[in-house]
Subunit: 455 residues, 4 copies
């Protein structure tokens, strides 16, 4: 029996492939499914099953893509009115050679959420691992904020699912969740991507709330952001995402073609590093460094409109396309061939975003210079410590809250390290703010050099 984890970097999404005896199953596949087919060929197996843990809100599931190519059956929880696939219920099980995969209904994160226990038939019926979807992560538990009217109910369901269904499988059971650190689905997920139920039971912070009410209280006090693309993902994942067939092929554009595309309505995003954007950028592009594209793109990118890319090098285009189609952005129309260099040598206008060191920031705060320090971290990060006088508007919500930012004075954007701050700076400049700087290093540098922090 083999089990292989497939990580989708930008989403911090973890899918799994289990195979034995010529057959295989994929748990929670992503939409660009070639990786699963390659594993199938390498292992000499046929993908016969796709198991979904729940209707995802942060990415498009690849089940129908796999089905289209292999004829695999698709399985998901019974508590939802799906437009495709088969419903499965508590206790049903499936054989993949000597492996057996059994359904556990584990609602909470969503009502139809299920987990799948994995047993090795050569060693008996007891589980060796469990695929928990967004119910239980390593170091964290899944969000339960998607049904605000039934918040207490779902938090309670989550408690039951974890403490009455999953953990009782046994301390010695391996934990295979759907996300790792960096996901928008959990803010305290460990960077370590391997664990067991017993280790989590004893060491995971939220699992120390073994009392039902205390657990529910904890969940109710959490604060999560809900990017606008979530509702689109939910809709498409429920009805069954469109089958791609092949990845889109963005065109190489000259500066002139790029300019025309943007004038024609394309949303232009700059995938280069924060520092490169600081040095020179095409006016009105949004700074979205490639590794942040999945986490923050869903706040800014409208569906249906073409997307235009600025990249550091052409090799990034392919990665960007994958990241975007995973979120349902299929119209990746083109990219600026030759990058900023082509743009600058064409004589076109470019912008820069000055960077400010935290020492200089401290000096200005002390000197009571007139400027706005715009801290774009999440509310909870802000509350755990910020610089004196900092105004907090979350980066994802900045575009809708521009009136909270005074236009008559310089603005220094600020975050944990300077990267989200640059996204914010790009949003501000796109909206006509002129004196915008970015504090490169931001809170990390503050803590390193010992700036005075309000906690």
């Amino acid at each position: 029996m083999f089990l292989e984890k497939v990580k989708s970097e930008g989403l911090a999404h973890l899918s799994y492939m289990v195979g034995d005896g010529g057959l295989a199953a994929v748990i929670d596949p992503r939409r660009d499914v070639d990786v699963y087919l390659e594993i199938a060929t390498r292992e000499g197996v046929r993908i016969a099953h796709v198991f979904e843990t729940h209707r995802n809100e942060d990415y498009l599931i690849g089940s129908r893509e796999i089905q289209d190519l292999t004829g695999a059956e698709i399985h998901h929880g019974a508590n939802l009115d799906w437009g495709y696939g088969d419903k499965v219920s508590e206790g049903e099980s499936f054989r993949i050679g000597s492996a057996r995969i059994s359904v556990l209904e584990t609602p909470g994160h969503t009502f139809e959420s299920i987990s799948y226990a994995l047993a090795d038939g050569n060693f008996g019926d007891e589980p060796i691992g469990v695929f928990t979807g967004d119910a239980l992560f390593i170091g964290d538990v899944g969000r339960t904020d998607f049904f605000p009217n039934r918040a207490k109910e779902v938090a309670g369901l989550q408690y039951e699912s974890i403490f009455k269904k999953i953990l009782p499988l046994g301390d010695d059971v391996l934990l295979y969740p759907a996300h790792g650190a960096g996901s928008v689905c959990g803010s305290h997920i460990a960077s370590r991507e391997f664990s067991t139920l017993g280790y989590e039971r004893r060491h995971s912070q939220p699992l120390q709330k073994t009392d039902r009410e205390a657990f529910i209280d904890m969940k109710l006090q959490e604060h999560h952001y809900y990017p606008p693309y979530f509702s689109q993902m939910e809709e498409w994942n429920q009805q069954g995402p469109a089958v791609l067939g092949h990845l889109p092929v963005p065109a190489a554009w000259s500066p002139e073609e790029f300019e025309q595309a943007v004038e024609g309505g394309a949303t232009a995003i700059d995938l280069r590093s924060t520092e490169a954007y600081a040095g020179a950028c095409v006016p009105s592009t949004i700074s979205l460094p490639l590794h942040m594209l999945n986490t923050f793109g869903g706040w800014y990118l409208p569906y249906g409109e073409p997307i235009a890319l600025v990249v550091e090098e052409a090799a990034q285009v392919g990665t960007a396309v994958r990241y975007l189609v995973r979120m349902g952005y299929d119209r990746v129309a083109g990219y600026l061939a030759g990058g900023l260099h082509a743009w600058a040598t064409s004589g076109r206008e470019y912008q820069e975003v000055p960077v400010v060191h935290v020492d200089e920031l401290s000096r200005r705060i002390k000197a009571k210079d007139r400027f706005t320090l715009l801290d774009v971290r999440s509310r909870s990060e802000y509350e755990r410590g910020h610089l004196p006088g900092a105004v907090n508007v979350y980066v994802g919500q900045l575009a809708e809250n521009l009136d909270e930012v005074p236009r008559d004075r310089p603005i220094t954007t600020f975050c944990g390290s300077g990267q989200r701050a640059m996204i914010a700076a790009s949003i501000l400049k796109r909206n006509g703010f002129e004196q915008v700087e970015n504090c490169l290093g931001s809170m990390a540098a503050c803590r390193a050099v010992g700036c005075p922090i309000v906690e």
Copy 2:
């Protein structure tokens, strides 16, 4: 300006990509077009044009596949009623940055055949290279046997195209033909894949026939085989091949599933080496070593039926799929997972094909042993030298000429090296012949050890 040759090994097909100034053109693309897109990304260019030299008969053209992904324009010769693309005529030219591509009408191989001269605008208007399709190869000229009723006419056209259109471009012009050695489109193509018009004019054997009548005579005396799939390729290439979108994904099959597929009508082919087939094979499979699949598959594989593969290792499946779709075989349904080993350990019947050394063959001939020596090489190879008593039936035509092979005595198949002989042996066994052996080494070994040869 860049120019990159893309070689499709099995077909010995050469396509080309030319780019400059952010644009690119592909000449005679194959059907699995990802390679062109990768070059486009690497070079930062947009594929704006596809140039076809003629309606191909030996593979499916990838023009519409590229167009589907990039919107490129498709160009081909005016002398045919095409179902897609644009017709171009003598003298028309296209700019790809500083490159200029100009049309030369060069009928002969087919009536609509055209060549494309390439100039580097930075160095003037004179050509630096020419894409000749199947008009002129390195060391050979294209076949002119496709219009038997007008044989003399087309041979004459070919003469005019070569001597009056192509060669006059200049001795210093680089020659970029559509095929290299091993193609079914030319039997004397050089193994060297680089040349100039001047070098060919002076050193290519057929170009020494500078007299029109002598050239036509030479062409009329040539003998070529016409595999049955040619007419299907012509039809599809004229109307525009179906757009694949993505490659088929053959399933990994257990011996039982493989067996059922064959019983259900799948054509089973064995892509392993001649020696592996000799050692043990699944009954009724056709021996088609992977590197020979494109050259001989078209003789045996019916369109419309599913194809089942036996491979040495799963990694060959992907290559086989590409080879097959290039010829329009899109129903590559599955492969025997675990290969012959899985088959043999399942307890199923297997066959072997004994191999015979040429020394033993000579002994038998000398001793006048009763057996049939079946030489399956082409008629012209046979005529250039064969063993005493050998019967000649071309490997591609064996299935239709089984009555020429006596069933009442042992048969030893024979070819240039033993590989085509094994294809023939598999055809015989598939058709109920029981005493079949293969002379491994065949004519090459005969010449090496000095067997007596009838010339």
Copy 3:
């Protein structure tokens, strides 16, 4: 914290790389160490430590190779007089960022064997995993037959190590052993490469012997083979293997050059499949299909002599070189370019090994045909069931026991599937046996078709 398993296929060897905070450690590296350097670059870490679990007998450790390239420290058990590296003792621990690696002395397999417990400092001091080397595998425990004079003592040490040191770390601890299924270091290792101490404690067959004496008895009754290369590996691993720097580059040889090399003393091995060897092989080569090279090569290949390869395709040469240097065979001098095809077309002599189906074998046994059925499986496999009349000589010991095989009658070699039987057949032919056949399918086919078996 990341943890990555690196599997060396042929050896079924598992090494691990753990990293955090810019540093990394490798546990039991193989000798071709580029894979670890690539992971280090991808993760942005510096390899600062190499941890060895014990002096290996089945492969050369890559510690000094890594040290040569990175300056990493090497650690191993204190109970041996090493020629390199540093000794570590019970309780010592090392920090790799937030990861902590602690030493547990776990003698038994060898006296200096140690295990390493891994803790995630972000979640406390308790272990999340343990690297057990050859002390504890998934589904099996390590061999304790290397010190025949102290057999009981070492079996007892193994018991203590497993039941008093490793298992008490906790049911929830992940198990990271040094070998997977297929290793010569354990015959019942599970095909599943993930487990926990708790799962093993409850489901692993040998761990059910919780009574010390019963465990020791079980170990004393085991039978293992000891290939001759083991003692060389032990010697080199103790003194520190020679630093390779780069992999050897075998030359492409013509048939003539290959012949000369073999005449000059090179040992020629044929890495192609069993079926290809059956079909045609170069006389006097040893059949060692690539995936069996590490398991059986050490029985036949002398150190110090050059090795000559016959391959299916040139791409196998690189893999073969890696497999061979992992066992200290650094003189991989050349390979037969063009393979068997080149050999056969050169007119040289080749051999075939006829294959026999189990149905025919059953018929012969029933008919009391005069022939030797040579079963080359291990003694324990033979004892668990064999065909009537079969003679058992283990494949690895055949060359030293040829006098047990009668030369005056046909011999049919037999094993679990036909692959080891072909190795044996090649050894017999190399030693002048003339009537040698191989039962392709062997015991697996017997069981599938239901031959009468003596148990």
Copy 4:
């Protein structure tokens, strides 16, 4: 016969591999030779010969590296006292299967320069191609400025070599030079990397000087820069470069370790893009974008000192190592893991280099603002057109000519596009200049927008 061009991007160096009949030769190999071995394996050939065209001054030759791995013979021109290899003379020839490689003495670029004519024995003795080293490029001829005391003599030799030796081989002969566009060995090399002697004879600018005296005059009027590393390359290439065995493995460094390395004497270079350097950089690093490393690194990097890298992503480290060892910089000690982001979040100081658009520059010039416009292009580029008031100091010679740059006013660096200008800016900042800006776009943008230019 196959011929494969291997391009080394940064050096714009072209080497070639020719093979046939199981043998191969490499012409002018680079020092990281794995690429040639991979081709050899793919083609099933043994590298038997290395042919050098001359003692190179811009990169280290890989001949001894290949010899060390394969035993190949090394050949080079007779007119030098070499420390390794064999001397060959006019008319000697070597067979590689059916290919024949013949020596032509073609002094000029250096005294021992030779060319190699390639013939295809299957088509006669006349050449099909010629490897010209640095004697003749596509669109240009080689430099003849290395012997200033004998300038006229060597220019005359170059004339003889080209017009009396190379061009007479025939118009139809393919031209295979040792460099493409971007090399420091020729400033007018075409971007097109394929040509023939006839095409060059008729279209290459310098070859229009068919009169000996006119040609010599032209050569004497050329101006080339001579980077300081040239003399080291010459020395090492003459005695035989040290055999590397394997590539150096730079360590991943924390900001603190990076800082210590620089304090300890390492030269720190920043391989990121010009824009990223503009946005934020580690103080005192030299801007050397990866694609410019080979062209400009030799001006700034001392031999013997360790080199420390700042990269955009870890994947660049491997490429940088190759680029550096090709120039003999083997001590690539480490790189800043996590890049600028790690540096900035550590709280350390960083710098930015403001960028200036050409429109603003024009305004300043018009307004007679007090500032230095430092044009760092080559003298000849400057002379072909520059902005009013610009001071010219070549980027490579800036460090030795800092006294030509006034320290009491702002400096704007300027070049063809802004990239060399950023190298210059980094050199100025490293030397204590404080008000330094970079004109991103530079002359290309000036021409695009129509700035007034002094010609």
